[in-house]
Every structure is written in C-alpha cells, then in structure tokens.
Amino acid sequence: MSEWTEIVDYFRGRSMWMLHYCTGCGAIELPPTMTSRWDMERFGITPMATPRQADILLITGYLAIKTLKRVVYTYEQMQAPKWVLGFGSCTINGGIYWDSYNVIERLDKYIPVDIYIAGCMPRPEAILDAFVKLKEMVQKGEAKGYEKYVKNYEWYKANQDKVLKRTSPVLKEIEKVTKIG
C-alpha cells in the first residue's frame, strides 16, 4: 500500500492547481510567474478559479481580520489534499503591519501553512522555488498541513475564534469613551 501512496504522491506533486488569494499586496508578482518569463505551468501548476478545484492556496501579503475570515472559509471549502503557501513577510510576522490593530501577525496560527516565502516582495524566482520545494515535500509525503489542521482542529478553531468572534473588548484597562446619544 505504501508503494501506491508513493505513486499517488508522485503524481500529486506533478499536478498542483493553485487558488491565489490576493487581497493583500503582491498579486502583481503572479502574472510574470504565470506567463512567458517564468512560466509556472511547466511544473504542472495552473491557476484555478474556485477552492473546489484547487490543491494549493497561495495567500499573498497581509491579512486583515476581515479577510482572514474569508481565507478560513475558503480553506475549509477546499478538499484534501490541500496545501497553503504563505507569501511575503506579512504572513510570517505581520511585516510592516506588525503593530496594526486589524492585520494578523502570523498566518500559521489560524491555518496550517506548509511553506512560507519570505521577502517583501518575494520575486517570482522565490515563488517558483517554493513551488519546487512544495513539490518535493509532497512527493516525499512531508507536506501534511491539512492533516495537522484536522488533528489540531480545536487549537486552530480557538485561535480563529479569538480573533474573529470577540465578545469583550481586547484592551480592558482603558475605559470606554462615553457614548452620547
């Protein structure tokens, strides 16, 4: 059975369809990656339109609280096996938005990220490098973020809920301004 899994993994690594979630900056790096100059289709990677069809979720740039909600929903609509690529510094530690009140700091706390691409902005070479690394990981059976998500679902859900479903003010020591109506 393990041979069969290896075969399946080999082909999965050769055919990865990508859904790019580009509400932050960095989307502009993808057209050159797709077209003549760098041509990611030679690795079997093509852009797809909906989460149902996609294997890779590529998240570029910062994620506001609002967009995080959509990312989680989109990620859960994708079907296993699925992988997440975090693109740019903002997905690693918030980047230049490190102290912003509405940009999350680290994507990995909310959904499992298989590979980060560091940089602000990462060049298309870096994206391709990530794709190749991901391919190797998939073929070796190492990219198991989606299983991690299932196993640690409560932990991820708690993190998501802490950000998305707040029921009390975050900063308690500062008194609320009196509203006059």
């Binding site: 009140y101 499992p112 590979i115 691409i117 802490k162 301004v177 109506g181």
Partner: protein, 165 residues
C-alpha cells in the same frame, strides 16, 4: 474670487488662502451648518470629503469638510472643532446625502455622533468592541500584542511548519 474670502471674513469667521485655488475656513461648531449652507449657495456644490483629526492635547476633534466649486474653480476646507469628551455634531446629510457615508466612517473610527444621521451602523470593522481605533488614546501595539499574540519563540505544543531558509 477674493470677494468670497472677504465676505466670509466679514461674517466674523477666520479664513485664509492656502494657495491660488484653495482657502480654509475655521468655524465654530454652532455656526457649521450656516457656513456650509452659505458656501453651498455660493457655488461650492460638490462635497469632496469629510475627515477628522484627533488633537488629543487640546482635547478636541477637528472635523474637516472639503468642498469644491466647479464654477469658481476653487476648493475650500472648512474646519471645526468639537470637544473630545462630548463629540456630537449635526449631520450634514440634508446638505449632501453623500456626507452621511463619511459620517458613518467617522463615527466608526472616532466615535463621533452625528445627530440626524439614521445610518450610523458599523461600516468597515467587524465585531468591534474596543474604543474607536483611530483615536490617539487607542494603543494599537498593545491591541496587536494582546489579540494576535505575536511572540518570536512560540511553539504552541505542535510541530511548527517548515520554512524556506
């Protein structure tokens, strides 16, 4: 052109040129409606935007209304100050319907009440329970550290994903 500024000054308002095509008018809070109506009647029919500045040391919010006149080719910036402790002002909805949208935003980010605006629901922020975030006394770094829990060395008990070195 210069007449307008003189007329405004004659109404006991502070006004000054900012450039060839732009002037600013300072108006007390209670004369805001009359000033804006006057300017609209004078040809500043286009409402360009509403903004707000938090003068925390003074204890005031400064509301900034930007109007333009296509006939006179002029822009005017009308500024008025309201106290931080009691940020209430009339809605300019009757003058410009568009203004209500900006007021909704100002309400959300500074907590200013616009009396007469029926639509002061949350706009951009979802599920916001803290003080309005663009006030100067809102500590955005503390908020970020508290909510997003960013620490360099966290492991959270599960294997951390591989990174590109």
């Amino acid at each position: 052109m210069a007449d307008i500024l003189d007329e405004i000054k004659s109404m006991d308002l502070k006004a000054s040129w900012l450039g060839d095509w732009e002037f600013e008018v300072f108006t007390p809070k209670d004369r805001l409606v009359s000033t804006l109506s006057y300017l609209k009647a004078k040809g500043f029919k286009a409402f360009m935007g509403l903004s707000c500045v938090d003068w925390i040391e003074e204890g005031n919010f400064e509301l900034v209304y930007i109007l333009q006149s296509y006939d006179l080719a002029l822009e005017t910036i009308v500024k008025t100050k309201i106290p931080r402790q009691r940020p209430v002002i009339e809605s300019m909805g009757p003058l410009w319907k568009l203004c209500e949208v900006y007021e909704r935003e100002m309400h959300e980010f500074f907590g200013i009440e616009f009396t007469g605006n029926p639509n002061l629901k949350p706009f951009f922020l979802e599920n916001w329970l803290d003080i309005p975030p663009l006030r100067k006394d809102f500590d955005t770094l503390a908020f970020s550290e508290e909510l997003f829990e960013f620490k360099e060395d966290e492991t959270h008990g599960i294997e951390s994903p591989k990174r590109i070195e």
